[in-house]
Symmetry: C2
Subunit: 208 residues, 2 copies
């Protein structure tokens, strides 16, 4: 797991620093639930978490660092399926992503993170590494599918998983409409058909 | 075409107001080319365009309104293909979108627009209407394909076009890696295979 801002030296996991972190991340989610991203501020997070504003700035540097860490923290809770078939795994993961972003404060969080990355190069780097890690981890389901003979051997696992996630980010950030179960079904069906058609093989044919 | 901020009453198209608008939008692109979104400001746009800061604020209210109008203005230049087949049309449009977002200042612009929509509800509404309009217009290629018998009659044209665009926005905003020709090929191949598999029909089956 990529960590945006490693804990200062000399602190123990589960100690005061860990409790502070939990209180702060919880406050970020509560604030996002109340007023969404436009209303989010370091001051409000300090007030709600009971953590001094100076501590927030010392540890997370800026709001951008804080929202990136919040996304990374919560994404770890999305389970990785292993149903025995790739269409089954894709469908299970699509519904898990759909449930994750079906929550308004998770929508607020991804908006906040993308806005943070646009403004702050350090946050952009953290975000890129985090999604690369996620694609590598979830890509294991594609490697298993290749081993079972479900997909061509030269399938790019990260591209398959990027394609599964893409419709959710489009729906939230661009179309700005609700994430629903139909979107998860459509994404899973689409990626399975496209992967079988060779859309994500490393050496793609130049023509249709 | 959706317009973010209609021209004030009493102004003529092609007149001074139109010239001001062109100078301002050109300055937005030049600034995005120079320093990207993090460096963009109303002050710099005023300086580069030679338009008074007060005029900028009166006409566009805020930076958010300005970047939305800039995206809408430039997107109108992406041509709508009519090659005679849906795979041909999808491929041509995917490469046009790829060329559009292959330019660093266009990446900067879409980042700016998404950040604007996250902060400002009025910009979010403008962005949503704009993309709905685009999907309706580009969706004509799917309606033609259905008429030719290439796709099921209950195919949702807007969903097909959303799926074609989604990988580009994922690449720019989430993966934060370059948009290249391979992405356009992959997107076109994927959407064609998925559409034939029924991933975008209005009444999707509940199971694979």
């Amino acid at each position: 797991m990529t960590t945006a801002h490693p804990a200062p030296r000399g602190t123990r996991p589960g100690g005061r620093t860990a409790r502070t972190r939990e209180a702060v991340l919880a406050a970020v989610f509560e604030e996002l639930g109340d007023g969404g991203y436009p209303a989010l501020s370091m001051e409000k997070i300090a007030q709600r978490s009971g953590v001094h504003l100076a501590t927030l700035y010392r540890r997370w540097r800026c709001m951008e660092g804080l929202v990136c860490e919040a996304l990374i923290d919560r994404s770890a809770a999305v389970p990785l399926p292993d149903t025995g078939t790739l269409p089954g795994d894709l469908r299970a993961l699509a519904h898990a992503i759909g449930a994750f972003y079906g929550e308004p404060r998770m929508r607020g969080l991804i908006e906040a993170v993308v806005a943070a990355a646009a403004r702050d190069p350090e946050s952009a780097t953290v975000l890129r590494s985090f999604f690369e890690d996620r694609l590598r981890t979830t890509g294991q389901m594609v490697d298993r599918a290749v081993a079972r003979g479900e997909l061509p051997a030269d399938t790019d696992a990260a591209e398959v998983l990027a394609a599964l996630g893409a419709p959710f980010y489009y729906r939230i950030l661009i179309a700005r409409r609700p994430v629903d179960r139909a979107l998860a079904e459509s994404a899973a069906t689409a990626v399975w058909a496209a992967a079988r058609a060779g859309a994500y093989t490393r050496a793609r044919p130049a023509d249709d």
